[in-house]
Subunit: 199 residues, 2 copies
């Protein structure tokens, strides 16, 4: 499970306090003092979540939220808010923030929320990775004759074995249980050259 929490908080005291709380709960805080510092860490494949103060001198929590959402709509942003700003925070939640926490907040509450956000993030990225893998294997349907469809697989298998053997046709043929010459025959038909697999 993911553990990284990108903290965006200008108040050094509060930031350190949060850091300690998270460390005690076996999370990995990444402290930053504002949007500018955090910005370069926010990307679509960030394996963690964001915990940002909503009121800050240079940029506010909404800037963080907007930027994070633009990088990845499935990157959870938890907002820290003063009591007076609760209505604002609730609106932020409707705008895509994952959750808000009222300052000062119960540490246990904070880690509960962050754990949920991390679980969500984990699922979202795992999902994305699997989707990509599936896309690779999907386009093997519908069209073409049986022999044509099989050629796709044959090509994949031979490429795999050739790649494992570092382009050595002899060993690849061995692992495939066929004579060298036969593999050359197949390679010619599939327009494969051993050179492409040298390492």
């Amino acid at each position: 499970m993911y553990k990284r929490v990108l903290i965006i908080e200008d108040d050094a005291v509060l930031r350190t306090s949060i850091e300690q709380t998270l460390e005690l709960q076996n999370l990995e805080p990444i402290p930053t003092n504002g949007f500018t510092q955090a910005r370069r860490l926010i990307r679509s494949n960030f394996r963690g979540v964001i915990l940002s103060d909503i009121q800050m001198p240079d940029h506010d929590g909404f800037d963080v939220l907007r930027f994070a959402q633009s990088c990845d709509p499935e990157l959870p942003v938890v907002l820290l808010t003063g009591h007076s700003d609760v209505p604002t925070a609730m609106r932020a939640v409707r705008d895509g923030a994952y959750e808000y926490l009222e300052k000062p907040c119960d540490p246990q509450r904070m880690v509960d929320v962050l754990h949920r956000a991390l679980a969500y993030r984990h699922l979202a990225l795992e999902n994305r990775a699997m989707r990509e893998e599936l896309d690779d294997t999907q386009p093997l349907d519908d069209i073409g004759t049986l022999a044509e469809r099989l050629e796709v697989y044959e090509k994949q298998i031979i490429e795999q074995e050739l790649s494992d053997a570092g382009g050595k046709v002899a060993t690849a043929a061995d692992r495939l249980g066929i004579p060298r010459n036969t593999l050359y025959d197949r390679m010619k038909k599939l327009r494969l050259v051993a050179k492409a697999f040298r390492r």
Copy 2:
């Protein structure tokens, strides 16, 4: 995105009120008056989340939570709690509840939380489905001669086409771009019988 929310609430007035709130937000409430009634709807592939009162005459929210978790640890359970029970609810969250809502709660807050829970649920089930699909395509490695490995794929392709054609060998052969007799030849070699694909 999923919309179903299984409501477990003994107070008919509150239940109806929640129902209306959810319907207005384009969600699909499934009202029940208690654990007994809800139990048969809770299963590992339930495409929605649970919203349960924590204090009820027959069984309490913990029974619901325990049962739901035993069916599926990734099935979110949101608990409704009176003000005095907040500490209990927070403990429940640590025990696996997705979130708690303090009664009487802001309707907007409720739908926000439910939406998050539904999004999580959606990801969790999608994930599971993809994992199964990937497991199917995985065992295509390492062992056997080239011809043997290809036979696995050939079998899959023919099975697929035969299944689509409802066991009609002629149409399957057509879709595969080979004569009927050839398909019979292949089927014999692969020990496939058309009967198994009739519907």
